[in-house]
């Protein structure tokens, strides 16, 4: 094969699946739809595996980064030259393994979960479409191709959130997601234009080379570009101030929440920042902003997660919070740590959603945690795996989340004075994380069943297997260790910051984090197991705080009042009624009125009576005759008036 990796197969296999299931899938038997729908991600995963032999221990098949470019350019006009070029390097390898691997598992899970749905083929075609765009995003060798994937995953997300389109809440959530993402994309686009204007190219490697060639080029326009890209990232990765779409996105089918809104798509922002890390390294202000946004988001989202009762919404806020950690990692230039956390988060958060899906499935569609409880007896395997995931997200060793979160917090602590504050926020958030996660754990699985008794649906094998595999990954996914992981990724995103650090400091810091996580567990244990009345009492004692958290700080309402309402009302009353109808309309009709009026006067002659026309004709002919025949010059001269030649 001439050493060719056939990277193009990775996105195109899912695309073929999308076309097949989207166009003819509705009329085909379910097994064939399933076969095609699963073969596409599996094929892509196998191609990734064959390309990533180097990572798994075999000798690297090719030297990284490996580039595949379509000989025909995509867009070529004037100042814009963009190719279809796919790049495989350490960063995209890790990301692809996650996307296609976890993606495949969730496809398998979906076969069981969506079995009874009428839109089975449509569902799989959308899911394949998502994988197509996500792999394009990851493999893209230039910013514009990345933007293709970027917008495309937003589209897939829109389609899948609104999958049950007959529900108003679902289609509303879909639109909200798409438009909020578009607001972010607006920033991204501006960033792309600025890149084009300042670098004359959109290829990552060329941009990186230009920046590396001149280490003194710092800040200035680079800060602005990086901030624009960051704005795009906050949209896609649901960070402050654009996180509002993600909780609503839980209207989609649960496997979709697992794949798109937890494991892969929402991490695209982190991936993008890592991909453009050279730029961010040259833009200190923007990088600092990344860290601050990350820390703030991870804290606020965690507090909001405390007061939710819908199991999927708790997980949604925890996703936002965990993404905040990743942004924090990027913001302190610990890109490897961010990607490391991205990976472990993909494992445990996908698992949490799949487990939640199994729980919802078992409860016959119920999502309210207040009506659950005592499920561990009924679904022991799911319970065991979910426990692993809860431990992982809370950062309890030796589960995967411990290693990755620890790496981020350690890097944050090393990041100068302000890094200490960021670390503090991160550690407090770790406590809150433990609070809301163990609250979920207790309310769902432990205690005694609340609410009316549902007849229990057994979990099918296709749903059970992915949960088990992800459970294992949640446990061992972090054992590779940030050291080895960082060295591998370091080829692409630079080494982990270690200045001023020591093993002792690292141990102390992680000891504090672990202690706080356990403390959180103990508090919840006290409140929910030993003293079940206490939570209600606490709510009663702090009604304001609870209401604030329960309503998510009223951010949605605030945006509605400041942006959406004024836009709609202004458009309707100021633009439509006043400008268009009153001013422009009346100006136009004034013109029309003048024309009509003059027409009305002339119209008198147009009686429609042939004889009157003929009379006018005759009269006019007579007048002409009179004019020609009568010697006017002589006649007028008789009156003493001289015209024309008569003058001389």
């Amino acid at each position: 094969m001439n050493g060719s990796l056939h990277l193009w197969l990775i996105p195109l296999l899912p695309f073929a699946g999308f076309l097949f299931n989207g166009i003819v899938g509705g009329k085909l038997p379910k097994w064939l739809v399933t076969l095609v729908g699963l073969a596409a991600p599996l094929g892509a995963f196998l191609v990734v595996l064959s390309a990533a032999r180097g990572l798994i221990g075999f000798a690297p098949a090719v030297a990284l980064p490996y580039v595949e470019t379509c000989p025909q350019p995509w867009i070529s006009a004037g100042i814009v030259h963009v190719n279809f070029s796919l790049v495989l390097d350490q960063l995209s390898t890790v990301m692809l393994l996650i996307v296609t691997g976890v993606g495949f598992l969730i496809h398998v899970y979906s076969v069981g979960y969506m079995n009874d749905d009428a839109g089975f083929a449509r569902y799989f075609s959308y899911l394949n479409l998502f994988l197509f765009f996500m792999t394009t995003l990851v493999l893209a060798g230039n910013v514009l191709l990345m933007f293709v994937g970027w917008e495309g995953v937003g589209l897939a997300s829109y389609l899948l959130i609104g999958f049950w389109f007959h529900k108003d809440s679902a289609s509303n959530a879909g639109i909200k997601a798409f438009i909020v993402n578009r607001i972010g994309d607006f920033g991204f686009l501006i960033g792309i234009f600025l890149l084009l204007a300042n670098f004359g190219t959109l290829t990552f490697s060329q941009i990186g080379a230009k920046l590396n060639a001149d280490p003194t080029w710092q800040g200035g326009i680079l800060n602005i570009i990086a901030l624009c890209l960051l704005f795009g990232a906050t949209g896609k990765s649901a960070q402050l101030p654009l996180y509002i779409w993600l909780p609503d996105a839980m209207e989609g089918p649960t496997p979709v929440s697992a794949l798109i809104h937890a494991a892969t798509m929402v991490t695209a922002g982190v991936y993008m920042i890592s991909r453009t890390h050279v730029l961010f390294n040259h833009a200190p202000f923007a990088l600092g902003t990344v860290a601050v946004i990350g820390a703030a988001t991870c804290f606020f989202a965690a507090t909001m997660g405390l007061a939710q009762n819908d199991i999927k919404r708790v997980l949604a806020y925890s996703t936002i919070s965990q993404l905040g950690y990743m942004f924090l990692g990027c913001g302190v230039a610990a890109y490897s740590a961010a990607i490391f956390h991205l990976m472990s988060h993909a494992f445990f958060k996908a698992l949490l959603f799949l487990g939640a899906g199994a729980v919802i499935h078992a409860m016959g569609g119920e999502q309210d945690m207040r009506k659950m409880g005592g499920l561990w007896k009924k679904m022991p395997v799911t319970f065991a795996c979910m426990t692993a995931a809860v431990m992982a997200i809370c950062g309890i060793p030796p589960f995967s989340g411990f290693f990755s979160k620890d790496a981020i917090l350690y890097a944050a602590y090393l990041h100068g004075t302000e890094g200490k504050i960021l670390w503090g926020v991160g550690v407090v958030t770790a406590l809150i994380t433990a609070l809301y996660m163990f609250r979920l754990w207790y309310m769902t699985f432990l205690g005694s069943p609340r609410g009316e008794e549902h007849h229990h649906h057994p979990t099918p094998l296709s749903m059970q297997v992915p949960i088990i595999i992800l459970g294992i990954l949640s446990l061992c996914g972090g054992w590779v260790g940030i050291g080895r992981f960082g060295r591998y990724l370091g080829h692409t995103v630079g080494p982990m910051p270690t200045q001023g650090g020591s093993l002792r400091l690292e141990l102390i810091l992680s000891g504090i984090a672990v202690f706080l996580a356990f403390e959180g567990w103990m508090i919840i244990d006290k409140y929910y197991r030993r003293n079940p009345e206490r939570p209600a009492q606490l709510v009663a004692r702090l009604p304001g705080a609870y209401k604030l958290l329960f309503n998510k700080y009223y951010v949605d309402e605030m945006y509605g009042a400041t942006f959406v309402k004024p836009l709609l009302l202004g458009s309707r009353y100021v633009l439509d009624w006043f400008v268009d109808k009153a001013i422009l309309g009346s100006a136009a009709w004034l013109l029309a009125g003048i024309a009509t009026m003059s027409g009305g006067i002339l119209q008198r002659w147009q009686s429609g009576n042939i004889r009157s026309y003929a009379a006018w004709l005759a009269a006019a002919a007579a007048a002409v005759l009179l004019f020609v025949v009568v010697p006017w010059a002589t006649v007028l001269a008789g009156f003493g008036i001289h015209i024309g030649m008569a003058g001389h």
Binding site: A77, G78, F147, I175, R182
Partner: protein, 515 residues
């Protein structure tokens, strides 16, 4: 082959005209006019495909030219030809003709003969506008494109045809008069209507500058109304909601935008540069104004009208940016808008034909009943909002990037805001039409999904959207070779005359970009 190359443009003009005559002669029996119109337009489309097949990409100037004297005095020539700028527009007009016939298949039930013969005359005039290189000939086709349109709107309007036709008439005919005066003045001064000759004569500076400014203004207003450019869009919404679908597809945009490129900026580059700041401002206002207006419309034709205002304003922005990238993007975007608008009109026409209303509020939950319509609608809507991989993205990206890097960042940022708003109004429209629970009307009226003839028109358009999004170089190469924006102003060449009002940001970034 030379004989074909020589006569192909004439054939393209004559075949639809012959179709019109044939329809007029033969009796108005059953679907006979439909079939004649369909066959004629398909033949014409096949003929237009000859152009890209035999176009020599590298050769400068016009190709397939014919230049023979027509009238001795005044010296009017039958002078036609195409270059990279107009060739694909001819093909676009060619493909929209059969699609327009298919779109009229069901809605036009009476007086088919008059409808289709006037429709074919309208086609001829569009081809004529795109290929005429003699100003008088061009003017003849330009006027000819307005007359059948007004008549058809008046006769076949949905509710209030005559009123909309009157509006259209007033808006478009009145500015045509100064256009004629300007053309005649040019003739009086130069003794020629030949576009190429006039172009060089004006460039020589042999004509008085003030008079040229008035001429360019006359050209500008006539074309700006036809595009339309804000605030001259008053006729658009009523024309869109009244005109038969096939005509609404072609009523706005293309002709005016092409004429701006070819005859306004093409003949009067200096004057165009002088007035460009104003037009850039109007274009950006148009983008945002149209998008905001589209958000709050309750009738889907009016919504599409304002969406179109927004989309066309984007092209105007590119035209008056006067850059190569922008012009290439502009021509490409004219093609894209033609395809996308064609599809959206077909779909909305299909809906109105089934449910007999264009009030958005009456609709709801159609996706379950009309899944194919919904799928095509979503694809078209996504193309319209500029989703990457679909066609409009390429055009919009070229336009915005050129505006951003070479014109003005502030306006470009404002224009980019349109990206958000377009997603909002289009997706909201999709939601109100197709999602949610079926509305009472949707439950009451039994409607079938897209029929064969509708699919026959929609599938090619959908495929085109994808192909034009993925392989734009097929088109861009010829377009780029064919557009000639006026040379950059001297200030760009001589750095000491950088205008003072250039933003600090732009200057500093340019310096940094050079490092």
């Amino acid at each position: 082959m030379d004989a074909i190359n020589h006569s192909i443009l004439t054939l393209i003009l004559l075949v639809p005209l012959a179709g019109a005559i044939l329809i007029a002669i033969l009796p108005d029996r059953g679907k006979l006019p439909n079939w004649i119109a369909l066959i004629t337009s398909l033949v014409t489309f096949a003929l237009t495909l000859h152009l890209p097949a035999h176009f020599v990409a590298g050769r400068p100037g016009f190709q397939f030219q014919v230049n023979i004297p027509w009238i001795q005095n005044p010296a009017i020539f039958y002078h036609v030809g195409v270059d990279g700028l107009s060739m694909w527009l001819v093909v676009l007009a060619g493909i929209l003709a059969p699609i327009g016939v298919l779109a009229s298949w069901n809605p036009i039930k009476e007086r088919r003969k008059i409808y289709y013969s006037l429709f074919m005359v309208q086609q001829t005039s569009m081809f004529g506008v795109f290929i005429a290189l003699d100003l008088m000939l061009y003017y003849g086709f330009w006027e000819l494109s307005l007359v059948p349109m007004a008549v058809l709107i008046a006769m076949y309007g949905r509710k209030d045809g005559p009123k909309a036709a009157l509006r259209f008439f007033l808006y478009t005919f009145i500015p045509s008069a100064p256009l004629l005066v300007a053309i005649l003045w040019l003739y009086a001064r130069t003794g020629t209507f030949n576009f190429i000759a006039l172009q060089s004569l004006i460039a020589n500076g042999s004509l008085p500058a003030i008079a040229l400014s008035w001429c360019s203004l006359a050209f500008l207003v006539a074309f700006a109304v036809k595009v339309p450019i804000f605030p001259l869009h008053g006729w658009l919404a009523s024309a869109y909601s009244e005109a038969p679908v096939a005509l609404a597809m072609v009523i706005a945009g293309k002709l005016g935008l092409y004429s701006l490129l070819r005859f306004q900026v093409g003949l009067f580059p200096v004057q165009a540069r002088a007035i460009a700041p104003l037009l850039i401002a109007l274009a950006v206002i148009g983008i945002l104004y149209g998008a905001c207006m589209a958000l709050v419309q309750r009738d889907f034709w009016r919504l599409i009208a304002f969406a179109a205002l927004s989309l066309f304003s984007m092209i105007v922005l590119a035209i008056y940016g006067l850059t190569l990238t922008g012009w290439t993007g502009a021509v490409y975007q004219i093609l894209n808008d033609g395809v996308v608008e064609g599809a959206i009109f077909l779909l909305l026409g299909a809906l109105e034909n089934r449910y007999a209303t264009s009030a958005i509020g009456e609709y709801g939950g159609l996706a379950a009943k009309l899944p194919r319509t919904a799928s095509f609608f979503v694809i078209t809507a996504l193309a319209m909002v500029g989703l990457p991989m679909l066609n409009s993205f390429v055009g919009e990206f070229l336009i915005l990037s050129s505006t951003f890097t070479e014109v003005n960042r502030g306006w470009a940022v404002a224009a980019t805001l349109g990206v958000i708003l377009s997603a909002a109004y289009m997706l909201w429209l999709v939601q109100r039409l197709f999602y949610g629970q079926p509305s009472t009307m949707a439950g009451r009226v039994a409607a079938r999904d897209l029929r064969f003839h509708e699919l026959a028109a929609l599938v090619p358009l959908a495929v085109l959207m994808l192909v034009m999004g993925l392989a734009p170089t097929l088109w861009l190469r010829t377009i780029q070779a064919g557009v000639h924006p006026p040379a950059q102003k001297e200030s760009a060449v001589l750095p000491q005359t950088v205008p003072l009002h250039a933003s600090v940001l732009a200057v500093s970034s340019r310096e940094e970009g050079q490092r």
